[in-house]
């Protein structure tokens, strides 16, 4: 520890915004070739919950049981929301609307700045990381998350009865931890998978290709509604979709919002709050003339 350490710009450890942030003083020091992003086509999403169950399987999510669920203590990183049209009809005439909601991995994440111990940070591949070891459980991140997609370990689930009764613990994925009580957790974009894919690519001396990595939800999704990949790679499906929908990461208002009649359907939730989410949704389309 020296005075120079103390005077260093600590915020850089949190503040690498790879896209459109080249003016950032630390861009040179911390360049990145990867910005993970997602797009979810609500038109394809059928609300079947496969992604959510896949997430439980992949990410060691505890099943909390009826009582804790009733207290709002469920741990689903990926939750499917079901909305009805609010057109005052007696019966809905266009079905329901489904919205898979997961951590939006914001570029200017409201959760990151408020954590007192810096347990949630921005990684250089554009994710909000959550360092379970560092978390002290102040829950400020969740308080400041507009999407409420952070889930707190209200109990010590590994030792709670009927969460992982033997031999169910054998199913736990050893690539990531099982979280104990008192820490915050949330969707990681399947960090263990992206990490492996990056390592493999590095070993093979190449860049990450689209398709090298799939998140668990994406892999399960029966309708391919979810695409995930590197927004920096112009060949990736995600980059193409963002490009085509003219959605830009560091913007709180997109072409679609400013130009009426533009035939676009890509949007991000709560863009106006400027968290710059990494998840783009594509509007659900329903036939106009039936």
């Amino acid at each position: 520890m020296s005075v120079s350490n103390l005077l260093e710009n600590w915020s850089k450890f949190r503040h690498t915004h790879p896209v459109g942030d080249k003016g950032h003083p630390d861009w040179e020091a911390y360049p990145s070739e990867i910005k993970w992003a997602m797009s979810i086509d609500l038109d394809a999403c059928t609300g079947c919950n496969a992604c959510s169950v896949a997430c439980y399987a992949e990410n060691n999510l505890p099943v909390v049981g009826k009582e804790k669920y009733s207290h709002g203590q469920a741990m689903h990183w990926m939750r499917i929301e079901r909305y009805w049209d609010e057109d005052k009809r007696e019966v809905p005439n266009q079905g329901a609307q489904f919205l898979p909601m997961l951590c939006q991995q914001c570029e200017a994440a409201p959760c990151e700045t408020v954590c007192p111990v810096g347990a949630t940070n921005h990684t250089e591949d554009g994710l909000n990381s959550q360092i379970y070891n560092r978390c002290i459980g102040s829950r400020y991140c969740s308080a400041n998350c507009p999407y409420k997609v952070r889930y707190f370990n209200w109990y010590d689930y590994p030792t709670t009865e009927n969460v992982w009764p033997a031999p169910m613990e054998q199913q736990l994925n050893p690539d990531l931890t099982v979280r104990g009580k008192g820490v915050m957790e949330k969707c990681t974009f399947c960090k263990q998978r992206t990490y492996t894919a990056r390592n493999n690519a590095k070993t093979e001396g190449r860049k990450i290709h689209d398709g090298d990595v799939q998140t668990a939800c994406q892999q399960a999704c029966p309708t391919n509604a979810i695409s995930f990949g590197n927004l920096f790679d112009p060949e990736s499906r995600v980059a193409k979709q963002w490009e085509q929908q003219q959605v830009e990461l560091i913007k709180e208002e997109q072409e679609k919002d400013v130009k009426p009649g533009n035939n676009l359907r890509g949007y991000r939730i709560f863009e106006e709050l400027r968290p710059y989410p990494s998840v783009m949704y594509l509007e659900r389309v329903r036939e106009s003339d039936v």
């Binding site: 520890m1 350490n5 600590w10 915020s11 949190r14 804790k68 207290h71 709002g72 203590q73 469920a74 939750r79 929301e81 909305y83 919205l99 909601m101 409201p110 700045t113 408020v114 954590c115 007192p116 111990v117 810096g118 560092r134 978390c135 002290i136 459980g137 102040s138 829950r139 400020y140 969740s142 308080a143 400041n144 507009p146 999407y147 409420k148 952070r150 889930y151 707190f152 370990n153 209200w154 109990y155 010590d156 009580k181 008192g182 820490v183 915050m184 709560f270 709050l273």
Partner: protein, 455 residues
């Protein structure tokens, strides 16, 4: 208005009266201590259970990640402001009447800060790792996040706590010397000898003491303002509807002074009764305190209305929805109770006759503090229950008994500390009361002389 204090109290009499409060506890004292211990025990039991089981037993959930703990934390922090107001600000303003009551007000500051600090701890999901929030040098160079208002909070509270302890201590040195000189030999005498730091009342000591006291007082005032502004930042710096309000810092500071003054009235009345301090804690002083409280109540009411108005006219539909929810939703009874207690009840303080009525003022001060506690709860909870995201709103949320138990226990803890304080530190500043009496008598004499022929 009557005199703040009689000018003919003998100094020895003052010593005797005040030192009496340090001796031979009456049965009532033990009853209070016992009740406080019981209450504290309930809180400790709840905390042990919560520590073992996890925060879930507090009934917290997603989205209600903060509950009574944070609300009560703000409440106690607020309570701490009165001590500073009375001792530091009024000291600088040479408001003499503060002298008999500032000591216990300062003690209140210290103890409520200590209580507030407990709530931060109780609230943590991993209490055993709380030191991660402390910027201590370590080989991995991991630092806390200096961007986080919560960290500012921790630092502000810690600074404020240490400064108020110093302020309390420095202000008590001459009194410790009196205790040392008057108390029977024994461990207490040794303790006072130690605490008095060799005070002899020499001219040089007095001069140094005055400078030090003034310096600490000056240092404390901005701290007091900053501490609650920073607590307000916890909310105002966030993006959440109902919190993202720029007027929050002054609003919080006003609320803090308000609840602190109300608490002073409560304790004033209790101490006056328990220790028979009628000579020192006189009706005119109560009256002044009540008037001060009323003024602060009006400031608070004004800022409260500003908050509503700025939300209402902001075109921020989400924040507006939270406000409407506060007034009509699940927590509406509490919200209206808060407004009633905070803005309507103080008008009783306008009635001159009631200003000096012990039972009425006692009841009013308790109601005001209830209102202030409700205010904090109404700041924290409705925003969680009715936040941005419609899907995750949770209007069924109700704090569990564990939360209530810990809140309940905190009052026991505070009382306990205060009771111990009363028996160790003179709760009325003897030397300043003497000063006050001296100045009074001097003034009386001057007046008499003037009457007899002037200069």
């Amino acid at each position: 208005m009557g005199k703040d204090i009689r000018e003919d109290i003998a100094w020895a009499h003052i010593n005797q009266d005040v030192l009496k409060s340090l001796e031979n506890p009456r049965p009532l004292f033990w009853v209070i201590v016992f009740v406080a211990l019981m209450m504290f025990g309930v809180g400790v039991g709840c905390e042990v259970y919560q520590y073992q089981m996890g925060m879930g037993v507090a009934g917290l959930n997603n989205p209600n990640v903060w509950g009574l703990y944070i609300a009560t934390f703000i409440f106690w922090i607020g309570m701490s402001h009165s001590g500073t107001l009375l001792s530091a600000i009024l000291h600088l303003m040479h408001a003499d009447w503060r002298k008999p009551i500032y000591r216990f007000a300062e003690a209140m500051t210290t103890f409520s800060l200590m209580t507030a600090g407990l709530f931060v701890m109780v609230h943590l999901g991993r209490l055993w790792q709380f030191y991660y929030a402390v910027p201590y040098p370590n080989e991995r160079w991991t630092w806390p996040n200096f961007q986080s208002p919560l960290l500012w909070d921790a630092m502000a509270i810690f600074t404020y706590l240490s400064s108020s302890v110093i302020f309390l201590y420095v202000g008590s040195i001459p009194d410790f010397a009196i205790c040392r000189d008057n108390i029977h030999p024994g461990w207490r005498k040794n303790l006072y000898t130690l605490l008095a730091l060799g005070w002899e009342g020499t001219d040089r000591q007095w001069r140094n003491f005055r400078v030090t006291y003034l310096t600490v007082a000056c240092f404390l005032i901005p701290l007091a303002v900053s501490v609650h502004s920073i607590v307000a930042s916890d909310f105002a710096m966030s993006q959440q509807p109902g919190w993202h309000v720029t007027s929050f810092p002054p609003y919080f500071v006003a609320g803090a002074l308000y609840s602190g003054c109300a608490a002073i009235i409560t304790l004033f009345i209790i101490l006056r009764y328990v220790f028979k301090f009628e000579e020192y804690m006189t009706m005119p002083i109560l009256k002044k305190t009540v008037r001060l409280t009323f003024a602060i109540a009006m400031v608070w009411t004004y800022l409260n209305l500003i908050e509503f108005a700025s939300v209402w006219y902001s075109h921020d539909e989400v924040a507006k929805a939270v406000l409407i929810d506060k007034a009509t939703g699940r927590f509406a009874p509490f919200w209206w109770a808060m407004n009633f207690c905070g803005s309507v009840v103080p008008f009783t303080m306008m009635v001159k006759r009631w200003q000096t009525s012990i039972p009425i003022m006692f009841a009013v001060s308790l109601l005001l503090n209830l209102g202030m506690w409700l205010e904090r709860w109404m700041i924290v909870t409705p925003t969680f229950s009715h936040g941005y995201y419609p899907w995750t709103m949770d209007t069924h949320y109700w704090p569990s008994l564990v939360q209530w138990g810990i809140v309940f226990g905190s009052f026991g803890w505070f009382t306990l500390l205060f009771m111990v304080f009363c028996k160790i530190v003179p709760s009325v500043s003897m030397y300043e009361v003497k000063e006050m009496v001296y100045h009074r008598s001097l003034a009386t004499k001057k007046a008499e002389l003037g009457l007899e022929g002037g200069h």
